[in-house]
């Protein structure tokens, strides 16, 4: 397909998918300009691939709003390093995907521009916060999309929507041009229709960036070498991720995937990550604390719409701009983050959370040092839930992250891949690897993808 035809076809698909509300900005004009650029660009590893971008990663051709009113109309004067790398590799940057405002949420119901619909059941959520990116891949608009993870925001929607979602190791991919949310957690991550699509995008994006000193000085990720069996691979099943009250469909899907891994020759053994139950409360201290600090920059002075307020001084400007500009979940996190960092409470909450986070990271280090190559778990405790089901109780929404938050806190790579369906809804299986061991994780995932029927009902 020529670059021109790809632009036309991608535009047609964006238009067709419009009712899902997964896209915030796209235009045929921008797609045509990308096609013109690609027609004079040498072929690269991503030639012919259109990629959608979560709208918290800056691009210069279209706005970057983070799905927030406070950045309405903002167009970045520079582009993110990952965007430059994708474009140099031959990819077509195809539009900006909807998300939970500032990536805060687990259902993409928190966008200031309306909720994103699950492509298979419009009454359900696609997961979040990168719900728009997941839906654009699941609906066949693009074969790959960028998301961002702070605590599962790619793996969880990937599981809900039945696509592949990969969070690399912390410090693997440059965050220059990612609007900061939780700086000790944020990772630009990728959705793919297949493991191979996601792996190819990740390989191109990864590697040290002089503009982001938090990237590690390591070469880019190597593409995984395809496997034909799992002999010699030790897979750990952490018992804390398989509680007695686990959703029966999720359990059936995992059982089937585990049986497949054994049949392929893997050694499967039970392990323990004893501090797992502290991951969500730890996350919901560290994350709001960092969010409150990062979002202090949105004050109506340098970018975005301004609200002057009644006091007519600079404090009234800050308060009115932020009060008008941020939605309910962002306001809640800023308030919680400010509270846990405030005088008299910082030791009790923030300092303690950092210490418990170390225990969670040590759990992972211990099992990987003990001969386990990969961990396998469910990605989510349930399939996609109904819209509105968890919006009144923030803590219930936070618990949707129970199986994805630990790897984010530990900084290790993890991914979700579709392993079957229960009553028509996709189920995701999660693989977690040791730091910077993405290639092995992706190779095992690639074989599982070819072995396990991702659309078959797991309970008959």
């Amino acid at each position: 397909m020529s670059a021109h035809d790809l632009a036309v076809e991608t535009g047609r698909r964006f238009a067709e998918a419009a009712p899902l509300n997964a896209t915030l900005h796209w235009s045929q004009d921008v797609l045509d300009r990308e096609a013109a650029r690609l027609s004079v660009t040498p072929d690269g590893p991503l030639t012919g691939m259109a990629i959608a971008i979560k709208d918290n990663i800056v691009t210069t051709e279209e706005p970057t709003t983070c799905a927030s009113k406070i950045l309405a109309g903002y167009i970045s004067p520079f582009e993110a390093t990952v965007i430059s790398r994708l474009r140099s590799a031959g990819a077509m940057v195809a539009g900006k995907a909807n998300l939970d405002e500032f990536a805060m949420g687990s259902s993409t119901e928190n966008s200031a521009y309306g909720r994103v619909l699950h492509p298979l059941d419009h009454s359900r959520v696609p997961g979040g916060s990168s719900g728009g990116s997941a839906v654009l891949v699941a609906a066949g608009v693009v074969p790959a999309a960028l998301g961002s993870e702070t605590g599962g925001s790619v793996r969880q929607p990937a599981a809900f929507c039945g696509v592949v979602g990969v969070k690399p190791s912390y410090a693997r991919v440059s965050r220059f041009g990612l609007v900061a949310f939780g700086s000790s957690l944020d990772c630009i991550s990728v959705f793919g229709r297949t493991v191979d699509d996601a792996a190819r995008v990740l390989a191109v994006m990864s590697g040290h960036d002089p503009r982001d000193s938090t990237t590690r000085a390591e070469p880019p990720m190597q593409l995984p070498v395809p496997r034909t069996d799992l002999r010699g691979v030790v897979v750990g099943l952490p018992r804390e991720y398989f509680p007695a009250d686990l959703d029966p469909g999720i359990r059936a899907g995992c059982d089937r995937a585990i049986a497949a891994m054994k049949e392929l020759g893997a050694t499967v053994r039970e392990v323990s990550l004893p501090h797992t139950r502290y991951a969500v409360p730890t996350y919901y201290i560290v994350n709001p604390a960092e969010a409150a600090a990062n979002l202090a920059r949105f004050d109506g002075v340098r970018y975005g719409p301004r609200h002057v307020g009644s006091g007519a001084d600079v404090r009234a400007l800050y308060q009115a701009t932020r009060g008008e500009g941020f939605g309910p979940e962002v306001r809640r996190r800023i308030l919680v983050g400010t509270f846990v960092l405030s005088a008299g409470y910082a030791d009790q909450y923030y300092v303690r959370a950092q210490a418990v986070r170390k225990l969670i990271a040590d759990d992972f280090a211990r099992v990987f040092a003990d001969g386990v190559d990969l961990l396998f778990t469910p990605t989510t405790p349930t399939p996609a839930f109904k819209a509105g089901e968890k919006t009144t109780d923030p803590v219930q929404m936070y618990l949707a992250d129970v199986f994805v938050a630990p790897a984010s806190l530990a900084g290790v790579p993890a991914m979700s891949l579709p392993i079957g369906r229960d009553q028509g809804l996709p189920i995701g299986g999660q693989l977690i690897a040791a730091d910077f061991d993405e290639s092995r994780m992706l190779a095992v995932a690639g074989l599982l993808e070819r072995t396990v029927d991702a659309v078959a009902e797991v309970r008959t």
Partner: protein, 99 residues
């Protein structure tokens, strides 16, 4: 712990965030729920000599000490709500001048 409307008002002021008086009761309930939930970390047994987790590179890589500006498509005047003669314009400092 109990979180009341006064606590929310105080934290909102620290965060420079306008919160309507009518929103205070719900926010207080929600914040109390969240803070009670995260307080279960008190049950975790943390060793006395524990250290905070460190993610990212073992040491930061230093760049050459040269100015290497990032090419910009447009300047601040295209993004700022009010930008005159090279300056971001803000209202008078008011009470902040004394703080």
């Amino acid at each position: 712990m109990k979180i009341g409307e006064a606590e929310v008002r105080h934290v909102a002021r620290l965060a420079e965030l306008a919160v309507a008086e009518t929103d205070l009761p719900l926010l207080a309930t929600q914040l109390e729920g969240i803070v009670t939930f995260v307080a279960q970390l008190d049950e975790a047994s943390v060793p006395a000599d524990s250290t905070a987790v460190a993610v990212g590179p073992e040491r930061l890589t230093l760049r050459e000490d040269v100015v290497n500006p990032i090419p910009m498509r447009h300047g601040p005047e295209a993004m700022a709500p009010v930008f005159i003669d090279g300056f971001f314009v803000v209202p008078k400092l008011g009470g902040m001048a004394e703080e």
